[in-house]
């Protein structure tokens, strides 16, 4: 049963990366979109694109935490004790990002929009870096078992963490750019489609280069993970590379469809590859999933929630995305102007 919960945990990480990650990635493009004049057009598209969905996407992170602390509490304690600093930075970054995104939409003054916009965009880059660094610290075996604190500094400032952090930023930026191409086409905005298509191609190249460098870093710094990726995780790595390259070809050819799905598979399969590579360990080489697992009563409750989520949340989530993609969630409020209020 702990295996099933571990799979659920991994899928939640994938969902957070491909849905929530893209919202962070959009923040990256917002950050480098240039001054208020030049960057207005892409920023408007970004706002329109992630506005209705970012909060729902964000809940995947809460799911990850909840599964972790109910099903593998000892590992959760080790992780939070060891990776205290990057987790704190990520938490504060999430507050700054969510709040300033909501504020930016709600204010009109250019000055205020710039302040909130800068806070939103900067924290959008900071948070995925921290998440990647955290993943790197765990994957390279720097978090000890037994609810103990590991090295508070080198657990997240180390070669694997740095490469994972940079890779996370690049990958979410890539995903976001690919999604934004699609959104721009849907809104019949060829300028923006081209704008983000070019950026998606560059980002794909960057992700590829970082991934290539990462191979050597993992080999030197995270041997267990590297061996896992090079053996049982290899098919997934190959799948990821194939999908990434195909998506790149489609983007270069300006193909009408296909790139989005391939990009998602490329990112998802590398994350699943990470999970497969460090199997059976939750904390590599010190704590396995089965040793870390809670009593069966708790795992049953968690799986019951997953089943309920499949019944309740997934249809709602699909509904939200379908409505959004059909343009039925255009913006907050309505167009018409009601008659002036009558006195009581």
């Amino acid at each position: 049963m702990s295996t099933t919960v571990a799979v659920v945990l991994l899928l939640a990480v994938v969902a957070y990366a491909v849905f929530g990650g893209a919202d962070f990635g959009a923040g990256f493009w917002d950050l480098i979109a240039g001054g208020p004049e030049r960057g207005k057009h892409p920023r408007d598209l970004i706002e329109h694109s992630i506005g209705p969905v970012w909060e729902a996407n964000h809940v995947w992170l809460i799911f990850i935490f909840v599964i972790l602390w109910t099903s593998f509490p000892e590992a959760y304690a080790s992780i939070t004790l060891t990776l205290f600093v990057p987790l704190t930075i990520a938490a504060l970054g999430i507050v700054l990002r969510g709040a300033s995104f909501a504020f930016r939409k709600a204010v009109v003054g250019l000055r205020y929009r710039r302040i909130f916009g800068a806070a939103f965009a900067a924290s959008s880059v900071l948070v995925p870096y921290c998440m990647g660094a955290i993943a790197g610290g765990i994957a390279s075996g720097r978090v000890p078992a037994g609810g103990q604190a590991g090295d508070p500094v080198h657990s997240w400032i180390n070669p694997t963490s740095v490469v994972a952090g940079v890779l996370a930023v690049a990958a979410v930026a890539y995903l976001a750019a690919v999604y934004l191409v699609w959104d721009a086409r849907r809104l019949a905005d060829p300028d923006m489609a081209d704008y983000f298509r070019r950026r998606a191609i560059v980002a794909a190249g960057v992700v590829g280069v970082i991934g290539f460098i990462g191979i050597f870093i993992l080999r030197a710094d995270a041997r267990y993970l590297f061996d896992g990726l090079a053996s049982r995780g290899l098919p997934l790595v190959i799948l990821s590379v194939l999908c990434g390259v195909s998506a790149l070809v489609l983007l270069i050819r300006n193909a009408a469809r296909g790139a989005r799905l391939l990009a998602v598979v490329a990112v998802a399969s590398i994350i699943i590859g990470w999970g497969v590579a460090q199997w059976p360990y939750l904390l590599p080489e010190t704590l396995t999933f089965s040793a870390a697992a809670s009593p069966s009563g708790t795992l049953v409750a968690v799986l019951a929630v997953v089943v309920l989520a499949a019944i309740i949340v997934v249809p709602g989530f699909i509904l939200l995305f379908v409505l959004h993609e059909k343009g039925l969630l255009p913006e907050e409020g309505v167009e018409d102007e009601p008659a002036p209020s009558r006195p009581v």
Partner: protein
């Protein structure tokens, strides 16, 4: 160099217990203000929305639309500050989570489910005004209300479990080896605490929203729009108040029966006795005596169990060793907050009675300025009462994090830099809190200037592409 560094590290190494406590209290205290808005505002919005469609009431519809825009902001801030709490469980209390996560965590799994539902439908509702069919759109709001209620029940179930831990078995080393999730969620304290919090959400949300319109009416904005905004919200708060007093009474009796030490702190009872007075204000001294305050003879005993009246015995603080009960300072905090909660609750009840009597006898809300002033104060008062009530339950449980099983000092993180994160959090939240209020005020002014609901209200989406930001609008946001 190394010496300087180690000296610096020594300075930075501060006992994390008080700072972790302070940070948790601060972030929860901040988040709990947004909770009522997330839970009950959607309900009020749906009332206005229903009226708007059913009776073709344009004012009600405008109200619902504007409320949903405000909700978008408060929900976003609530969502992210709630996320911080999930980080903090581990960052501040890793040993608590490591040892009890398998039991304590279970209600949160369900909370995640409801929060997800809420986030999905609030997005559909807020963004769906223009293109969805009016009734279909209305129904997308209903899951928000339900998810809000069940979500807060789930969170409070976890807190209730800390007061009444159950549904698990321990081995000889004190590790949890068996968990019964149903018993964890439906622990003894859960029904009372959950009801108390959900009703609090309606009470606080109602009075808080109403107070904004009361201020508007006092400033002479006595149009139908303000009237509707006030009446819908205030009625929700007023209906919740008497129910809340009943539930609160039941919860207090549960505490009397199950957490006698917390009850002794609430009622300021140093030694076990019968005929215990209800002391209004007053304080406990280090030597165990009570000074100051206005004692009402026998009332605490009588309220604890009316069937035995003034003869009811109330257990005193000294029945447990000092290290198993709140300190004198904590006891005084608990007692003062109890008085504040009950006192403000009673005043809100009187205000609700005034409102109800006016409707019964005059068929309209009270028109006097005095009432509007009181109604304007009711929002902040309700928030203070809720915060005070939360302090009673949390500080009253001290020194335990899991009642009678684990102490706070054994649960805390080993990281000595918590004081730094405390200040970082306080600064960030102060900025976010200030910005939230300014943004909401700016929106409200913009709505008034616009005299209606136009596309330019919230610059958003492709339509904003053609829009230039004018100087007057820049002014309007300030």
């Amino acid at each position: 160099m190394t010496a300087t560094l180690s000296a610096l590290t020594a300075i930075l190494e501060v006992n994390p217990v008080p700072w972790a406590r302070a940070q948790m209290a601060f972030t929860l205290g901040f988040h709990i203000i947004l909770v009522p808005l997330g839970v009950s505002w959607a309900f009020m919005t749906l009332i206005a929305n229903y009226r708007g469609i059913r009776h073709n009431d344009r004012d009600a519809l405008t109200l619902a639309q504007r409320w949903s825009k405000f909700m978008a902001v408060t929900f976003a801030v609530g969502a992210v500050t709630g996320t911080v709490l999930t980080f903090e469980f581990g960052l501040l209390w890793p040993r608590f989570m490591g040892r009890w996560g398998e039991a304590f965590g279970v209600p949160f799994a369900f909370e995640g489910l409801f929060f997800f539902t809420e986030a999905i439908f609030i997005a559909i509702y807020i963004f769906g005004w223009r293109r969805l069919n009016p009734w279909a759109h209305f129904w997308t709001g209903v899951p928000i209300v339900l998810a809000g209620i069940f979500g807060s029940i789930s969170v409070v179930a976890a807190n209730a479990w800390m007061n009444a831990p159950s549904g698990f078995e321990l081995d000889s080393n004190g590790n949890v080896i068996k968990v019964d999730p149903i018993e964890v969620i439906f622990n003894d304290s859960m029904p009372w605490q959950a009801a108390h919090m959900v009703i609090a959400a309606y009470l606080v949300g109602g009075f808080l929203v109403a107070s904004v319109y009361a201020v508007g009416m006092l400033r002479g904005r006595r149009d139908r729009y303000h009237y509707l905004g006030f009446v819908i919200a205030f009625t929700v708060g007023a209906v919740a108040t008497p129910i809340q007093m009943g539930v609160g009474d039941g919860l207090a009796r549960w505490v009397y029966n199950n957490q006698p030490v917390k009850f002794a702190a609430i009622e300021l009872v140093p030694t076990t006795s019968s005929d215990v007075p209800e002391t209004l204000l007053g304080r406990l001294n280090e030597d165990g005596t009570v000074s100051g305050g206005i004692p009402i003879p026998g009332l605490a005993s009588w309220l604890s169990d009316p069937s035995t009246g003034r003869a009811t015995v109330v257990q005193g603080l000294d029945t447990v060793p000092p290290d198993q009960r709140p300190t004198v300072r904590q006891t005084n905090i608990v007692h003062l907050c109890w008085d504040i909660m009950v006192g403000l609750g009673t005043l809100l009840f009187l205000l609700a009675v005034w409102y109800a009597l006016s409707w019964v006898f005059r068929r309209r809300m009270p028109q006097t300025k005095l009432f509007l002033w009181a109604a304007a104060a009711a929002g902040p008062a309700a928030v203070i009462a809720m915060e005070a009530g939360w302090v009673v339950t949390e500080v009253g449980r001290q020194p335990w994090i899991v009642y009678n099983l684990m102490k706070v000092e054994d649960a805390v993180t080993a990281n000595t830099g918590v004081w730094i994160t405390f200040f970082a959090v306080v600064i960030l939240y102060a900025l976010v809190g200030t910005a939230t209020i300014l943004v909401l005020r700016g929106m409200s002014r913009r709505f008034r200037h616009a005299e209606g609901f136009t596309d330019q209200d919230t610059p958003y989406g492709p339509s904003a592409l053609t829009k230039e930001v004018s100087a007057t609008e820049e002014e309007a946001i300030r």
